[in-house]
Amino acid sequence: MQPIAHFEIYSHQFLNSAGDLTLPLPPPFHSPRDLLKPYQHMLRIRAFDSKAVALQRTGQIGTFPSSEGEEASMAGIAFAMQAEDVFLPSYREHGVLFARGVSMEEVLLYWGGDERGSNYANARQDFPIAVPIATQVLHAVGVATAFKLKGEKKVAVTTCGDGGSSRADFNEGLNFAGVWQIPLVVVVVNNQWAISVPRSSQSKAATFAQKAIAAGMEGIQVDGNDLIAMTHVCRQAVDKARTGAGPTLIEAVTYRMAPHTTADDASRYRGQEEVNSAKALDPILRLKTFLMREKVWSLDEEEAFKQKLQEEVNEAAKAYQAMSPQPIESIFDYLYAKLPRALEEQKAQAVERSEL
């Protein structure tokens, strides 16, 4: 008897929670200045989340999943991708979508109960958000396989949660990706919670990254609250996929600071102390500390930028509110390429009944 398989999982961190850079700044970053754009994007995501939660509270959009605390994971994914790549999000990754050209107004439309929110004006190939958990992982396998079959140098990138990793879709997707060696990056955004179910009840495995091993692909863990590590590791994985060197699974370790959605009462299942200690690991705070220490960012600039963001999110909310509703006919118009004759009567009925 002898051991025939070994594996090790590496965890990556460059910027610790105190904002100290513990290793040299890795590519794609050359100087601290290069971090400003992703940093500002993280601030943008947070500003949007608090606006969206406020809009939900006043009944102007429906249930909304805040991504507070996960900004570095999202910015890292977004800044690792090329425009021509395809992103397949779960429902909490609007922060990635924004960087890919999806507008805040579109995201508000979606959560405001309007299908037009998934008809992105930019990022035309990116997928609409997936609500049925982890189903998007299989679509990403299909998208990546299409790239390979067509000989296109593009990469499919998808995200799912720690909860999502328990579903068949995720596990079957990894297996296919391993067998087919396709240009795919799967990011498990491990935010420690799946609604009320803690990470420890989701899997006994020490990491989610190691789920890649059984599928014959590379698995890496990253501090998902470290923008530098997130971007670096995601960029390496995306580049690797683009050169045909195969798929990667990345586990981004982060924390869901907000309740699951606006419909959730997190106090039923987790204590405030836990949330408070997670706040000490805040991805925005640590990067800000670093940037200020490096003197590439100041409190004044932060204030001015936040002002601008406030205007941006207010504008987006206004634009969303000013949208005229879709015509009733629209509920029939996109079901098939051409409305089947059998549905014409129902369509006429729907219009007629709306005037009752």
Partner: protein, 326 residues
């Protein structure tokens, strides 16, 4: 007796049966500490412990398949699928195993299990949280499909579902989860499955519905009665196996029938009911059977959702057409 809602009645029935029958186990996502996203299992884990009320990893195939295994070992799994929109992954286990185990083994192994799921539109929920696909399950031999529409029926029918020796899909109309309150005696008495409930009696029209649409049906009946029209209002409750006798007897009496359901029209349960009426009571009909249903479309996101749902006005209009048919 206490005044409780439908979702509280679910909770009370589960609590009663957990207490009364040690073989009952609950499993699902967020049903433990959190008490379920609608609070249907609120407090049950605290009361009965983590081995009876089990938070599972996030995996519907596993929830349904594991239930099959549990059920064959003398346990009575009652699982919760968080929303009907996430039930589709369970189909293989339900259709290929739960529904067939008794038949395949000539009764050697059986699946006394319940799968509960909230369903239906009208609560401004996100995408995939509004469909009514009960007919998918009605089409599967070996499954029973139950949909309550009042707190009392919820309590009694859920008890019956858990005690039933075969797999039952128990669909809970989320739109009326908290809309109606009733005195419910927590006496552990089950109501019969396979029986429609005649809620109002009258001789001019038979109005048949189930689930959340019963709410609009009741309002329509009240307004018809105010005009002197007598209506048999039937809550189907158990869609499969269907209690044809009650429906046929009513239609033979009234000669006029309107079926209301929220699910899309084509292949919906209304079609089955209308077909049975045509087969067995055609000559009693004084007017064609009518259906008021959802359209054959994807339930719109919430801004246009109301245009999908059958309204009281549309029900009344259809009733009028049937009553005026000469």
């Amino acid at each position: 007796m206490t005044m409780i809602t439908i979702v509280e009645a679910v909770n009370r029935a589960l609590a009663y049966e957990l207490e009364a029958d040690p073989s009952v186990v609950l499993l699902g996502e967020d049903i433990g500490v959190n008490g379920g996203v609608f609070r249907a299992t609120d407090g049950l884990q605290a009361q009965f412990g983590k081995t009876r009320v089990i938070d599972t990893p996030l995996a519907e195939i596993a929830i349904s398949g594991v239930s099959v295994g549990l059920a064959t070992q003398g346990l009575k799994p009652v699982s919760e699928i968080q929303f009907m929109g996430f039930i589709y992954a369970t189909m293989e286990q339900l259709i290929s195993h739960a529904a067939r185990m008794r038949n395949r083994t000539r009764g050697r192994l059986t699946c006394p299990m319940v799968v509960r799921a909230p369903y239906g539109a009208g609560i401004h929920a996100p995408e995939h949280h509004s469909e009514s696909t009960e007919a998918l399950f009605v089409h599967i031999p070996g499954l029973k499909v139950v949909i309550p529409s009042t707190p009392r029926r919820t309590y009694g029918l859920l008890l019956a579902a858990i005690r039933d020796p075969d797999p039952v899909i128990f669909l809970e109309p989320e739109r009326i989860y908290r809309l109606i309150k009733q005195d419910v005696e927590e006496d552990g008495v089950a109501l019969p499955l396979e029986k429609c409930f005649i809620e109002r009696e009258g001789s001019d029209l038979t109005l048949i519905s189930w689930g959340a649409s019963m709410h609009e049906a009741r309002q329509a009946v009240a307004s018809l009665e105010a005009k002197g029209v007598g209506v048999d209002l039937i809550d189907v409750a158990t869609l499969s196996p269907l209690d044809s006798e009650t429906i046929l007897a009513s239609v033979e009496k009234t000669g006029r029938c309107l079926i209301v359901h929220e699910a899309p029209k084509t292949g919906g349960m209304g079609a089955e009911i209308a077909a049975r009426i045509c087969e067995k009571a055609l000559l009693s009909l004084k007017a064609p059977v009518k259906r008021v249903t959802g359209y054959d479309i994807i339930v719109p996101l919430y801004k246009l959702e109301k245009h999908y749902l059958p309204s009281v006005k549309v029900i009344l209009q259809a009733a009028q057409e049937i009553l005026e048919f000469a």
